[in-house]
Each structure stands twice: as C-alpha cells, then as structure tokens.
Amino acid sequence: MSQQNEVQNPGKREFLKVVLGGSLAAFTGSVLYPLLMYLKPPKYEGLEVSTVKAGRVDEFERDSGKIIKFGTKPVLLIRTQEDEFRAFSAICTHLDCTVQYRKDKGVIWCACHNGTYDLTGRNIAGPPPRPLDKFRVIVQGEDVVISKNV
C-alpha cells in the first residue's frame, strides 16, 4: 500500500524529507544557538576611564616607577633621573604580564620572559614584538594626572 503511494507520489517523499530535515536543522540550531551565545561573557560597562589622578608629585621619587590603576588596566608611571614623568601601559606586548621599572638598569622589564623596553617604551631586547602603549602625563600644580594618549 505504502509502496504504491511512494511510486505514485515521488514528490511527497521529497517534500517530507525537506520539511522534516529542515525542522531538525532548525530545532538543532535553536537549541545550540543559545548555548553557544551563553559561553560568550558579557561586557561590563562603566569601567571606561580616560583620565586618572596618580597622586602628588612628591609621592614619586626620582628614578622610580609605580603601577597606577587606570580603570581596570595597570599603567606604569615613571619619574626619570632627569625629573621627567612618563607613563606607559604596564601590560607587556609579548604575553600580557605586568612590567616593572628596573632602577639598576634604567629600563622597563618584564619578569615573565625577560622582555626589555627603554624609557620611551620601545622594545629593545627579548621577545616583545611591539613598544608599550604610551599615556600622557600632565603635572597640574601638585598633582600628577595620567590620561589616554588621544
């Protein structure tokens, strides 16, 4: 009986295949899509900063460096021997470690893979592929203010 139907209506089987196959694909998609999207972490707002007060000028010794919180990111503020303030992103361009000022060598150094930058943020030795991102430092009266280099 059903065999007869098949011969008489070859289009009917094709139609059912498309409808059922399509439904299956749509069903699978509608189950997987929310699951996959759930894995993607949400973006947290309200943490963007463009300017940060680092502290008072006399808090920073000459020839020293300090990590300043810039929103959620670390920024390295250096007061050079020549009494100049400079600020760089403290995130090593190699593999994301946090760099530090090396007083003994007068360079910026990353302990993780021995990457070295000079005091202009240029990568001079070791594996870092790019210079450190620069920040602007403004001395407003007694205050040291760091802002994004725009």
Partner: protein
C-alpha cells in the same frame, strides 16, 4: 563471614553471571620481559588520579571559588581545618607526580611502540587524557589565586589568543572576558572540578576496557617467539599484588613529600602589581616557557611567539597521531626514525627544563 560473602556472591551471580568475569580474570596473563617494569606506570597514574579525586572532593568542602575568597579559603584550609594542610599538600604533590607518572607511561609506550596496530585507540585515549592532565594542572594552578598563578594564567591564556582567527574568541572564552579576573577563576574552577573530570572518566573507561580486551603489548622482538618461549605471569593475583605494593610505596612517597615539603601558598594575586622576578611555570610547562624566551620577536614574516606556538602545536599533533604515520611498527618492522625522534624530544625537554631552572 565467609558464608555470608559466598551468599552475596551467589545472589549477584544468579542475576548477572559473574562467573564469566571471574573466568576472564583467571585467564588473564601479563607478559614478562625486560620492559615489564614499564607496565606499572599506567597503574601508578591511575592510582594518583584516584588520590586526586578523593583529595579534590575533600578540598571542595572548604574551598570557595571566588576572587575575594579563594586565597583566604585556602589559608583557612591550611591553618584552621584539621589536617587541611595535609590534604592540600597531598593534592598539589599528587598532581605533579600524576603528570610525571603519565609522562613516563607515555614515553615508555612510545619507545616500545606499543601504540602500533591494534592499539591505536588506546594510545589516542591516553594522549587525550595526558592533555587533560595538563589542563587539570593549568586550571588547578589558578585556584589558590596567588601571584604566580595569576601571571601563569595570563601568559597561558594569552598564548591561546595568539592563534590566528580562532585564538581571540578562545582566549575570551577561557578568561570570561578580556582580562584575567574573578570570572576566569570561576570558569577554570568549573573546568577543573566538573568538565575535565567528566571527560577524563569517560576516556579512562575506554582506555581500561581496551587494555583488558587486548591485553598488554609485547615488545616487537618478543612477538616472533614461539608460544612456549614466552614467559607470562597471571594478572590475578601475581601482577595485581605487585601493582598494589607499588601503590603503597607511592602513597608513602606522597606522604613524605607532603609532610616534609609542604606546598606553599605564596602572595595573594594583585592585578596591579608587576610580575615578580624569577617567575616560573610548573615544571611540565617549563620547556615551552624557556623556548618562548629564546625565540626573537619576529621570525621570517610572523611573530616569534606565534611561530613557537604553531611549532609546539604541530609537534604535539604529530606525536598524538604517531600510530598513523609509523606504518613500519604496525607491520612488525623496526622503525629507528621514531626512536630517534623520541630521543630528541626527551633530550630537548630535559635540556630546556634545566636551562629554565637555572635562569
């Protein structure tokens, strides 16, 4: 007592026919040859995994997996909880011994070419478990939320991000955001205590069933020997008792290490502190860490780090699929190339690890 046991056995046997299993165990033999000593390392790995499951569950009773509480909760485990220091120390030490035992097991299987036909699937499940063991190590390392762990996780997840196209989404998935934060801790905690153990248990089941089904592999040179000249040992009880004796020795070693060299907790992680000088990864990642130090920033036309990561990825892949490109061993012929590759890999790992420790 004995009568009760027999009655229980009969009751179960009546329903599920245990005698088949008993007969199978009675007929199971382990080959005896000059490489027999390596047969024990799979069992030792299994034993250490069981230790990890037990001590891991015990730690879960007090551990709190959040940015604010993780470090403090481990401090409490180590100072306030009775024998908490012991459980945590055993868990840390057993993790290291587990990777070591699995490594010895893997290399011994590689050098005796025990992965050859018909045991390709055993090798593959073993390799997947080995990678999972490294994943266990990596994810578990962050859980105390200390300084070393924080930077190790930054570097480790950043390495994933270097891979073209798929790298960045993978990195964000692993970190639970752009940076390593409490969200990363929550995710890796979930992997460490739920996802990895689940997958591992399935792979372990397949691995063990295959070993039971196919028996131990014999070295190539022994396979041609006539039946009469092959020496074997009954699995039950001879081999099993030896296994258990070794497990007892490992347990004692573990106790000595945990008591006399307790695992340190270090400093609490601070996202705004520079990476401490002398920072090093766990010993089993050391050779890769040291290699990354030597590769220059740019190599040919690509970033040095990308080059290093692609090379390690490729080497790992070739190693995993060795049963499929080493056709000679499957035919029962000697394959010196495979042995030389293995010797090179072992020497490379040892040399770079030593260099890493010295620097």
């Amino acid at each position: 007592m004995k009568k009760t046991l027999i009655r229980v056995y009969d009751w179960v046997n009546d329903r599920v026919h245990l005698e088949d299993l008993v007969e199978f165990l009675g007929k199971k033999y382990v080959p005896v040859n000059r490489h027999s000593v390596w047969y024990y390392f799979g069992g030792v790995s299994l034993f250490l995994f069981i230790i990890q499951v037990i001590t891991g569950i015990l730690l879960l009773l007090y551990y709190k997996g959040s940015e604010e509480l993780a470090f403090e909760s481990i401090k409490i485990i180590m100072s306030k909880v009775t024998f908490g220091w012991l459980i945590r120390s055993v868990h840390s030490w057993a993790a290291n011994l587990f990777v070591l035992a699995a490594m010895i097991h893997m290399f011994s299987v590689y050098f005796t070419k025990a992965y050859r036909k018909p045991r390709e699937m055993t090798w593959l499940t073993g390799m997947l478990m080995f990678f999972l063991a490294l994943g266990f190590g990596f994810s578990g390392y962050l859980l105390p939320w200390n300084e070393l762990a924080f930077f190790a996780t930054k570097v480790g997840t950043d390495i994933a991000g270097v891979i073209p196209v798929i790298g960045k989404p993978i990195m964000i998935f692993l970190r639970g955001g752009e940076d390593v934060t409490g969200a990363t801790l929550t995710r890796l905690f979930g992997f460490h205590v739920a996802v990895f153990p689940g997958i591992f248990t399935v792979l372990l089941g397949i691995h063990l069933v295959l070993v039971q089904r196919q028996g131990m592999s014999e070295p190539l040179a022994h396979e041609d020997r006539p039946e009469g000249r092959r020496v074997t040992m009954p699995f039950f009880p001879n081999f099993l008792l030896r296994d258990l004796l070794l497990w007892l020795i490992v347990l004692n070693l573990l106790a000595i290490l945990a008591v006399f060299f307790p695992w340190e907790l270090g400093q609490k992680a601070d996202a705004f502190a520079p990476a401490p000088a002398g920072i090093k990864p766990e010993w089993y990642f050391m050779f890769m860490f040291q290699t990354l130090k030597y590769i220059p920033a740019r190599l040919f036309i690509i970033d040095g780090e990308l080059f290093g990561i692609l090379m390690f990825g490729l080497a790992g892949l070739l190693w995993t699929i060795v049963p499929f490109w080493d056709a000679k061993s499957s035919r029962g012929e000697k394959n010196r190339l495979v042995s030389y590759v293995g010797i090179f890999v072992v020497m490379y790992i040892i040399a770079l690890t030593i260099l890493g420790w010295q620097s």
